[in-house]
């Protein structure tokens, strides 16, 4: 929740990425992500990653906060996926670091193991490229999220063809998640205030399960009331919204530049252009 508020403050700053039309930003970042996902060269990936850091700096985002926000989850998600590929057990390659010598003919259940287990050069290279690629894509997405107010970001989804009813549902879900979070926190505090001695894990789990059910019931009740509030203001199932965005010349230029960069990156990675 606190992070959401911090992000909102970045979105309101007068920086490079805060001013363009959100649709232009969204299309540009999608193009860069597409290009990044096909890049094979580590140097090019590092270049694109450095670009995201530069854009974060020019958008008046605290670069350290930005790096932390991206790299906090990378080791968890990408790291775990990439880890097996560094060992010769899964992907053969040239030895880099020898971990253990097992000797010939060793089996692990039905699987036969190599004579020695080592980290391979090719595996490390692949793992680093994979992790860097994920980090660069996540950086681009995080940049989009923290330089655009949530409500504007959701609205801009309409420009990429998401139906308005889904966008509205997303907006409302985001708006009410804070309310439900407050409710859950109050329940937890109320319990803490009346807890004299610690209870068993089973009792705690039972309490959490009960509160989850209660939160669901409360959210259903609230959704019915919200629907009534919408009806009382004329909603009849077909939501009408105001289109507020207006593309300027610089937005078209930004989209063209981002798409050109993406095409260039793809051509470089395919070896059609040499740098």
């Amino acid at each position: 929740m606190q992070e959401a508020f911090v992000s909102e403050t970045y979105a309101k700053r007068n920086g490079l990425l805060q001013s363009p039309d959100p649709r232009a930003k969204q299309i540009s970042i999608l193009a860069v992500i597409f290009a990044t996902s096909v890049i094979q060269d580590l140097d090019v990936l590092i270049f694109v990653y450095m670009l995201t850091l530069l854009f974060a700096y020019l958008s008046k985002v605290d670069v350290l906060f930005f790096i932390k926000r991206v790299w906090l989850f990378i080791p968890v998600f990408a790291g775990i996926i990439a880890l097996p590929m560094v060992f010769n057990v899964f992907f053969p390659g040239d030895p880099l670091i020898l971990l253990a010598y097992l000797g010939p003919g060793v089996h692990l259940g039905p699987f036969s193991l190599p004579e020695s287990i080592f980290i391979t050069k090719q595996g490390v290279n692949l793992a680093v490229i994979f992790t860097m690629r994920v980090a660069t894509c996540v950086s681009a997405v995080v940049l989009l999220f923290i330089t655009t107010p949530q409500q504007v970001l959701f609205k801009s989804l309409r420009s990429v063809g998401v139906p308005k009813i889904y966008v509205m549902t997303l907006e409302m879900a985001y708006r009410y998640v804070f309310l439900l979070m407050d409710m859950v926190r109050e329940m937890y505090n109320a319990k803490k205030a009346r807890t004299i001695k610690s209870r068993s894990m089973f009792e705690e789990q039972k309490w959490v399960g009960g509160r989850m059910g209660y939160t669901l019931i409360r959210s259903i009740d609230m959704s019915e009331k919200v629907h009534m509030a919408m009806m009382s203001r004329g909603f009849n199932g077909d939501v009408k919204v105001m289109q507020q965005f207006k593309m300027k010349n610089r937005d078209y230029f930004a989209v063209a530049a981002a798409i050109s960069l993406s095409v260039l990156l793809v051509l470089i990675t395919q070896g059609l252009i040499r740098v």
Binding site: E171, R175, K225, R233
Partner: protein
Amino acid sequence: MDTIFDLRNISYSYVGKINALKDVSLKISRGEQISIIGTNGSGKSTLLAIPNGLIYPTSGEFYAFDNQITEDVFDAITDNEFRSYFRTKVGFVFQNSDVQLFSPTVYEEIAFGPLQLDVPPEDVKHRVEDVLKIMEITKHRDRSPHTLSGGEKKKVCIATVLFNNPDVLLLDEPTAGLDPRTQLWLVELLQELGRSGKTVITATHDL
């Protein structure tokens, strides 16, 4: 005075078991200021929801502006001229402001109702700015409703219904949870609206 709401022998029960209203008859005339007073759980909110066409009586009949309000006609998804007229003329302020403030920003919240009632977007833009000024909430224009205080939320809720300049205002516990200064502001506003000829129906236990 013209009768605008006519509730004839209305009963309402939740899931067919819990009786909230039993055989209530009530006529409300144009320009009247009425308070529905009762204890918690006495059915005030239910009684107030019927004249806004949010729920329909289990038995009895409800007429608004000389038209009978029934679920078949009023809840149909197809455009309905009378329903649009009714929604323009009747504004409802919910007890829980968070229920009523479902849009991402204050500006969009106020614009939501008129857009649903097919007010041209250009008119909506101008009039939203006017309403923000009248209610002195222009500085909250781009804020998310969840970041507002209780009093500010209530002001936005009232702004959303005042946009259409409705003839009838229905308010469910409007002073609940407000500080004394905001309560006074609200009471004075309702008195002012009453003097200007609006019909104001308030459900409350705050005497």
